[in-house]
């Protein structure tokens, strides 16, 4: 580990009592933050400080803290999941910041992701998109064909896995200037489109998922590519193209 040191920082954090309340940015000073700490550990430290002075701590979503559950969010200094690429906020470390820095922390901003409190937003729109078609309609009997009965070319399996690596954090929506969810939906559509098991329902799936996506109030994709850059799992824009292809195919045929 490179030698950890302590830094002092100023935080500008969005505070909002609940979904209906009006929010505003508030300023906090935080001293002696170890650069070996993760960003969320820094927020823990802030909250400990707030609690000790009988103030209300900042609410933020987090759970696994190892970059896989997709629960953490935060728009840090104008970027989803902060300045580091390929990283969720929980794996962003304070060594990426300097002594004396001012750090802005805001919630994901999207009509489809309303703020619940402070930095916590409601991402259940993603669940509803998944419920509209993000599955293979196979019963859970275990009485399917043998797993090796249908060979899947390694290339396809690998692409499907890369698409399936999406953690559903919503950084794509947050960072997209249009608040579009195409990378998320594209990844899910792609995973199934690439596997023989998913092909049977491909047409219905893409139509249903896209319909639900539009109903949720996400914006449209204008191919700025920001989502791909900020995606902590490096989900490729190819997945959006694949979804477009699937959608066109499904609409025409």
């Amino acid at each position: 580990m490179s030698a950890a040191k302590n830094i002092n920082i100023t935080l500008k954090i969005w505070r909002q009592k609940n979904a209906k309340a009006k929010g505003q940015i508030e300023t906090y000073k935080l001293d002696n933050v170890s650069t070996a700490s993760s960003f969320l550990e820094m927020l823990d430290q802030l909250n400990e400080q707030l609690i000790n002075s009988k103030k209300e701590p900042v609410a933020f979503d987090h759970d696994c803290r190892e970059g896989i559950c997709g629960m953490c969010s935060l728009y840090i200094n104008g970027r989803a999941h902060g300045p580091d690429t390929g990283t969720t906020t929980c794996q962003l470390h304070m060594r990426k910041f300097n002594d004396g820095d001012t750090i802005y922390i805001e919630p994901w901003r999207s009509k489809a992701f309303p703020v619940v409190k402070d930095l916590v937003v409601d991402r259940s729109a993603f669940d509803r998109i998944q419920q509209a078609g993000g599955f293979v309609s196979v019963n859970t009997s275990g009485r399917t064909i043998d797993a090796n009965a249908t060979p899947v070319p390694k290339h396809d399996a690998d692409r499907a896995f890369e698409a399936a690596a999406c953690i559903g954090c919503g950084a794509c929506v947050a960072t997209c200037k249009n608040g579009s969810a195409m990378l998320f939906v594209g990844a899910k559509v792609s995973q199934y489109a690439l596997l023989p098991q998913g092909k049977v329902e491909a047409t219905q799936r893409v139509l249903n998922m896209v319909r639900q996506m539009d109903e949720e109030g996400f914006g449209n994709c204008t191919n700025t590519g920001a989502c791909e850059v900020e995606c902590p799992k490096g989900i490729s824009l190819e997945n959006i193209a694949r979804m477009n292809r699937e959608y066109l195919k499904a609409s025409i045929i």
């Binding site: 728009y75 999207s110 009509k111 191919n223 824009l237 193209a241 959608y247």
Partner: protein
């Protein structure tokens, strides 16, 4: 959006090829081309397709932008988008609107004049006759000329109707058709002592805007149509970049050439 966009790219290429005759060809060829473009039924069909495309592209663009703005009712206090996307990709709507303004201006300047202006001049040719320079109208019938001198024309019993048609007044028969002199209008527009320089600069700036719009738009159209493939996408992107730079550059070269270099 993508389909109309790509169609408009094709249109740009065709339009450019025609316009480049302003540099590389003479007035008569250019005016011939102009006439062809306004009279050929196939071209007519294409031009209507172009108008529809432009309209659709613009309206769709406005609708998309409206929806996209609505998708984020509260913006970020601090945003740093330059880290993850290009300037053009984020400003397509603004660039597009500027281009629309340009298109309207451009059409008022040339298209409308060509189509509706009563005073639209016809192309003439100067012939040296016994030391005196006499101007004649050229017609689409090779070898048929009509004098520009209205007295002379009247004496011949010829009258110009419908702006371009030479009629035999008595017989009420078309004797020939003249060429609208778009070349002259264009040259005059950019060479105008008062406004020529401004017009030239404005046109060049508009082409800058177009370049940025195309820089994102061209490859974006392929992505929207689902044509993204690790093998071919780099080539598409490369071609798109080249297209976005070369086409507006050549367009811009025309007014610059006319204003500064054409004698």
């Amino acid at each position: 959006m993508a389909l109309t966009g790509l169609f408009l790219c094709l249109f740009l290429a065709g339009h450019l090829a025609g316009n480049l005759q302003l540099i590389f060809s003479d007035a008569s060829a250019f005016n011939k081309y102009a006439l062809f473009m306004t009279s050929n039924p196939a071209v007519k069909l294409l031009s209507y397709l172009t108008y529809i495309s432009i309209l659709f592209h613009a309206v769709d663009g406005f609708l998309l932008t409206y929806q996209n703005v609505k998708a984020r009712p509260i913006g970020y206090a601090k945003n740093n988008p330059s880290k993850n996307s290009s300037f053009s990709s984020r400003n397509m709507a603004v660039l597009g609107t500027l281009i629309l303004v340009f298109i309207v201006t451009h059409m008022v300047n040339f298209w409308a004049v060509m189509h509706f202006d009563e005073k639209m001049p016809l192309q003439t040719i100067s012939v040296n006759q016994m030391g005196a320079k006499i101007d004649y109208y050229i017609t689409t019938d090779t070898g048929k000329f009509f004098p520009t001198d209205s007295l002379q024309l009247n004496q011949m019993g010829i009258e110009i109707r419908n702006r371009t048609e030479f009629y035999n007044k008595e017989a009420n028969v078309i004797m020939g058709e003249g060429y609208k002199d778009l070349h002259k209008i264009t040259v005059a527009f950019f060479k105008d002592a008062k406004t020529g320089l401004i017009a030239t600069i404005a046109y060049v700036l508009a082409m800058f805007v177009l370049a940025f719009h195309l820089l994102h738009g061209f490859q974006s159209a392929f992505q929207s149509l689902g044509l993204n493939n690790p093998k071919y996408t780099p080539a598409i992107k490369g071609f798109g970049k080249a297209f976005a730079i070369i086409v507006p550059l050549l367009f811009a070269a025309i007014p610059v050439y006319i204003h500064f270099f054409l004698k």
